[in-house]
Structure formats: structure tokens, C-alpha cells
Symmetry: C2
Subunit: 410 residues, 2 copies
């Protein structure tokens, strides 16, 4: 008899009929002889509604009180789901963050889990109960309510699976069947992966794939929690397993797992910066102090004591970044600032890259063949990203997907 | 510098504009040099909405989970109010039942407060914060969420006022200006009382007046908490003070404080019950075991070893009561059952009755003068109730209000 953690997102519990269906599915899992621990998000739309109310009072809202308000969504859905399970004749109990208890730091709205006291859950499981935990929420050491950030229920599920040494952690999704080689909306031939490694998933998540929260994947990788992304609508379908890299290469010999794109990108260049030690720190410290996450950075070779520095920031932080950078550029005596927010980042992800050469060159030549100019390049062990003009995004993704033969076998 | 507890009901926080107004009023109270502790109900309609959702899953709903679901309403309103106070530049903090902590027994949906750990509130007040406590909710010794029953936020406010030795407990109402001598909807001449004693208020509350929760009044009386019922819409109006009886008679020489009526009544008579010791217990035990509250009981004098027993029950429990009573009547060998649910109870309440004779006879003759037949009578130290035909309710109330000169002086 194993322990299975199941997590259901907001769209999977969006209405009473859906909640009742989930209750039935949880019970079926229980009846196969497993202990079941369920993590739920708020009913779809609830969190947005509560944030909107708060913003009408205070913008930005007080973070401590915002957490009090938004965490109520998961409280409701966890109670309703536990009730639905009981209505079907199985014993169940809902637990909130303060009851489990899931202890976090006090960074409201983006708290990090510090520890989990799993005794209460263990006791309830031992009593034969199905345990329903409210996702997204925790408490700090002083008992203040905290939340784990958008998609935080994924993290709740993974952290509980780790704390309880669960056999697997099933993440039910209402909108996707699993992890795909690319966005099926862009690449109709995109193929569902049976398996993907934590590292690849992490790169995809950080590239803007909304299927799993990046922090949840990181946590799973750190503690070796096997993730299983499954479609709520088709419970008999095998979704995608997220596993250790070793398990991957053992089973499949895949070079590239996916092609992704991210349009939330903008590019800023400072030209002819007098090159001296410490200029990078001077440029990027004000940005990081303002909470702006700089993604790619390219520095040209220095010519006559001057260099150009180009970097990308999220498009939503574009204006703020320009103001901050202009200030620094003046101080540094740089020539001028060139900026562009009509760009996109196209990336190839795959653990196979580590041991195969030629991936980068094939990527570049594929783009060249389509007449797509590469504006910036950045590489990591398992990822190559190219910044291109925004209008080429879909073309680039489809061309790469084809070139690396990621689609369904015809 | 004193401590004032203020409680705002659901209609007082029904929307963002109202919440913002409350925030301003709380701050004005703070600026008069008082520490302020605020208790809020859920935004009007929220609790009903959550109960309805739960009932669609399970009827009756699981009580533990229902408390988890319904308590979320106060969580939201407390967070939004604390945020609104902060938006106006004053420091504030919301606290939930599990944070205060308000410890109750585990009688879900009608829990009794066992103790209040007020340290966290005291600390926040000492830091200069306005404290906003979510009403209605508590936790049992094991940390399960509990609720205090309908109108429970009144009780939260009174209990906190007692625990913190507050100078007064202001109960803001959106629909009334204070406590009236009678329902102004029935008696246009009804007059607002400046003061009323706990005992009188308690009788009025138990007679169906919805202004204050009976348990909250009881608690206030027990711990000597001065209550102040005030209208939210007219914050400069003195509402009604609920005080010790001694303070009452000292200041005003009032015979009768109010006339009330209650239509949630039904009457059952068992005729010709063989009179023997223990028949009352045999009749009423099945009713109390089913949770039916019997109000008035009248037993006729025994004639030839037989007696008639008449009693009233809430109209909502009428059918269930008849079924239970018919069973018992058969066992006891009684002749038959007569029942009537077209009745109402009309009551006079006043501490002055204790020391004045003639109240009852004036009541009876007033009703007789209007041609109203009295079906049952019951008296207590400060209350006389008559059951009459339902159609006479308003006439009876107005006639009594006139006869005892309760209206505005003309």
C-alpha cells in the first residue's frame, strides 16, 4: 500500500460538478489500495476576484493582508472537496496551512517553505481518512498566513510528497494532456512526451511554459519526488512523468525534448561604455534592487577601451528598466541606449545536448534557412536560446520542431 | 486612553465603499485616543452563498467541513478591512480565530468559547496597531476550525471585550438605530430606548428580535461588558446602551421596555392524558432528543385522573413534533391531539414588573378590550407572554404599546 499525492488545479475544481468528479476520482485511487493525500487550488477565478477586490482598496495591496484574503479561496475548495468525498461515503478531512502545519518564511505572496510538520496528516491517514490540503498557503513562525506565489499549489503538493515520502505526486491539469515537445497552438505536430527530466522541465517552466511552477519542479528535483502530469478530463491517459535524468536516457535516446518560445521579452543595449572593472555591477545592481530579473546578458569584446552591453528584461518591466539604465549610462559616460521590445526568445531544451555536439549549429542554420536573423544567443548545458524579431516567433518554433524531428512519427 | 471594541455586521461591510467607510470610522475612534479592536462579519450574502454551495454537495452538510468553508467569509472581510485602514495611513493587522486564539469546544457550527488567549492582540495594540479580528470563528483544542452559530460575530466581540477588559463594546448595525420599544414596522410610534438592561435585552433576543444574538447578551451580562448598539449610517447618534439593571432603574423609572411578537410558533395539545408521575418527562424527552425546543408548557388541573397538556414549539419543527407526540400519546393512552400553527406569541418585557403589580391584569384587559382571545399565558420575573391567534398579532402589539404608553411623547 503506497501513498499517492494528487494535486488538482483551479479549473479542475471550477464548479460543483467538477469537484464531485474529483471526489470520485480520489476515491477510485483510494480503492486501489493507496493512501491518498489531495492538494487543491482555489476554484478557477476566485483568486483573481480576491486580488481585484484588494487592488480596489490599495495598490499595491498590503502583502500580509493580501495573503489573508487570497488564501481563503483554497480554504473553501478544500472544505467543499472533503465534503464531497464524505458525501460519497468515504471519510475525509480538510487541513489548512496552519493546521498541517506548513511553515514558511515571512516573505508574503512569495513565501518559501521552511519545514512541514506532517504528524497531523500521518495521523489522519492512519485513521483511514483521505486528507485534503489547501494548496498555496502556509504560516510563518508567528502564525501569520502566507502564500507561495502563483502556481503555489504545485509546490504544496511536491513539498508534501517529499515530507511524506510519497510514491508519486500526480499533478492533474484541466487544460493539457501532459508535457508537449512544443506549444500545440503553434506547432500542430507537437507530440506529448512520456517522460521528461527535471532539468528539462525546469528550463521549459522558466521559459514561460505554464504547465508546472518552476519552483515546484526545482523542489521535486532536489528531493527526488517523481512527478506525474495527468489530464483531469482523461484519467486513464498516461500523461507525462517528470523523472531523474538517469531514468530518461536509460529509456529513450532523445536529443531534444522541446522547443519553446517566450514573447515576454525586451532588449536594452548600452553602447560605448568605457570598459573598466565593475561596470557590469554598476549597470545591473539598480535593476536587481528594483526586483527586475535580467535574463540574457551579452558583452561585446572591448574596442579601444569601450564596450557594448546588451541584456533582456521581462517586457512588463521594460519602461522601468530604461529609466534605471539611462541614469546609470549617464554616470558611466556611455554613448547611448538602444532598446527594442518587439523581440522573442526561442529555445531548444534537451539533456541529450550534453553529450551531442552540433545542436547549436543545426539550430542556427535552420533559422538562417528561414531568413530569421539571430539577435542574441545564450546557452546552458541543456538549453540553447536565440533572441529573434517577435514576428518570426511561430515560424522559428515550427522550423526547429521540424528540423529536430520532434513531431509525431508520420 | 481606553480600549473600545467595535463590531460591524455583514451589511455594514457589504461592499468596498462600506468597508472603506468603516475604516475611516475606526480611525476616527482611534484618533480620539482610544485603542481600537474591531470584529467583522462576512460581507452580506457571503455566508449564505457558501452554505448554499455546501448544501448542493451534502444535505445536511458535514459540520466540520461546513465550518471550514463558511469561516472563509470573515477571513476575507477582516483582511480587506485591515488593508483599508492601512490604505488610510494607520497601521492595522487582521487576526483569525486560530491566530488570536479563540479556543472553543468542538461543537461545530454552534461552538462555545472555552477561552481566549489575548496575548497576541495585546501585543499588536501595544505596537499601536488597530486590530481587526474575524468574527464568528474559533478553533478547538486540536486546531480544527469552528464557528459560533448565526450572529456569532456579536459573541466574538463581547467575548474579546470581556477578555481584554474593554471600556465598551460597540455593536454597529446597518438596519436599526438601536433597540426599540417595539418593531417600528408594526408600531409606527415605537420609540428608541436609551438604555435597556441585559435581562430585558435577553428576553427580547430570545423572543426573536434579531438585533443582538441572545448568547452574546448572556455573555455580556455574565462578564459585565457594557454593550452599545449603534447605527452605522448615523455614527453621531447615540444608539442604545445595554447595561446592568441597577444602572437602569437608577436613571429611569420604566415599567415596561418593550412589546414584541413572535410568529414562529405552533401549539400542540394532548387531551385526556392519564395523569401519573412522569408523564411530562415521557412527552418532552423525545422532543428534546430531536433537538426541538419547547417554549411554553401549560398543564390543566387534573380531572378524574386525566389532564390536558398544551405546549408550543417553533413552527419550523411543527410536523416533526406532531409525529413524535402522536407516538407518545398512543403509548400514554391519551385521547387525541389537537394542533394549531396559526398562532403568535405577544410579550411584554420590563424589569419594572418585578416591583409593580397590575401589569398582567392591564395586559389581559387590553387584549380583551380589542376582542382578542388569549390561548395560553406564561410569565417570568420580567416578561409576560400571551399566545393569541396569529391574525391578531399586530393589533395586539399596537394595543399594548399604547396601553403602556411606550410611544414617543406627543
Amino acid at each position: 500500500m503506497g501513498l499517492i499525492v494528487q494535486k488538482y488545479g483551479g479549473t479542475s475544481v471550477a464548479g460543483l460538478d467538477k469537484i464531485k468528479w474529483v471526489a470520485g476520482h480520489v476515491i477510485r485511487t483510494r480503492e486501489k489500495g493507496n493512501d491518498v493525500l489531495v492538494v487543491v487550488s482555489a476554484m478557477a477565478g476566485e483568486t483573481d476576484k480576491l486580488v481585484k477586490l484588494s487592488l480596489q482598496i490599495m495598490d499595491p495591496p498590503d502583502e500580509r493582508e493580501l495573503d489573508v484574503v487570497t488564501s481563503s479561496g483554497e480554504q473553501v475548495s478544500s472544505g467543499l472537496l472533503a465534503m464531497s468525498i464524505k458525501a460519497l461515503g468515504r471519510d475525509a478531512i480538510s487541513l489548512q496551512g496552519h493546521q498541517v502545519r506548513i511553515v514558511t518564511d515571512n516573505a508574503h505572496s512569495k513565501a518559501k517553505i521552511v519545514r512541514i510538520d506532517a504528524e497531523r496528516i500521518k495521523k489522519a491517514l492512519a485513521e483511514g481518512k483521505i486528507v485534503v490540503v489547501a494548496g498555496f498557503q502556509g504560516v510563518d513562525e508567528e502564525g501569520n498566513v502566507t502564500t507561495l506565489g502563483r502556481g503555489g499549489s504545485d509546490l504544496t503538493a511536491v513539498a508534501l510528497a517529499a515530507a511524506l515520502n510519497a510514491d508519486s505526486c500526480e499533478l492533474y491539469k484541466d487544460d493539457v494532456d501532459g508535457i508537449y515537445t512544443s506549444d500545440p497552438g503553434i506547432v500542430p505536430a507537437a507530440r506529448k512526451l512520456d517522460r521528461i527530466s527535471y532539468e528539462e522541465m525546469l528550463e521549459l517552466a522558466s521559459l514561460g511554459s505554464k504547465v508546472l511552477q518552476a519552483r515546484a519542479v526545482e523542489f521535486a528535483m532536489k528531493f527526488g519526488v517523481t512527478l506525474h502530469v495527468r489530464p483531469t478530463a482523461k484519467p486513464d491517459t498516461e500523461g507525462t512523468w517528470v523523472v531523474e535524468e538517469e531514468e530518461m536516457t536509460h529509456l529513450e535516446n532523445i536529443l531534444i525534448s522541446g522547443v519553446s518560445s517566450d514573447k515576454n521579452q525586451a532588449k536594452i543595449t548600452i553602447t560605448q561604455v568605457p570598459d573598466s572593472p565593475g561596470i557590469a555591477a554598476k549597470i545591473f545592481t539598480p535593476l536587481s534592487e528594483s526586483g527586475i530579473i535580467v535574463d540574457m546578458i551579452v558583452q561585446n569584446v572591448s574596442i579601444e577601451g569601450h564596450t557594448d552591453m546588451t541584456f533582456t528584461v521581462p517586457r512588463t518591466d521594460f519602461k522601468k528598466s530604461i529609466i534605471l539604465t539611462e541614469k546609470v549610462a549617464k554616470q558611466l559616460g556611455a554613448k547611448k541606449i538602444i532598446s527594442d521590445d518587439k523581440i522573442a526568445k526561442v529555445s531548444l531544451v534537451g539533456v541529450g545536448m550534453k553529450t551531442h555536439s552540433g545542436v547549436a549549429s543545426r539550430m542556427f542554420s535552420t533559422l538562417a534557412k528561414e531568413g530569421i536573423n539571430i539577435l542574441m544567443i545564450s546557452t546552458s548545458e541543456i538549453k540553447i536560446s536565440c533572441v529573434v524579431e517577435e514576428k518570426y516567433t511561430e515560424l522559428a518554433v515550427r522550423a526547429l520542431h521540424d528540423a529536430f524531428e520532434l513531431g509525431e512519427k508520420k
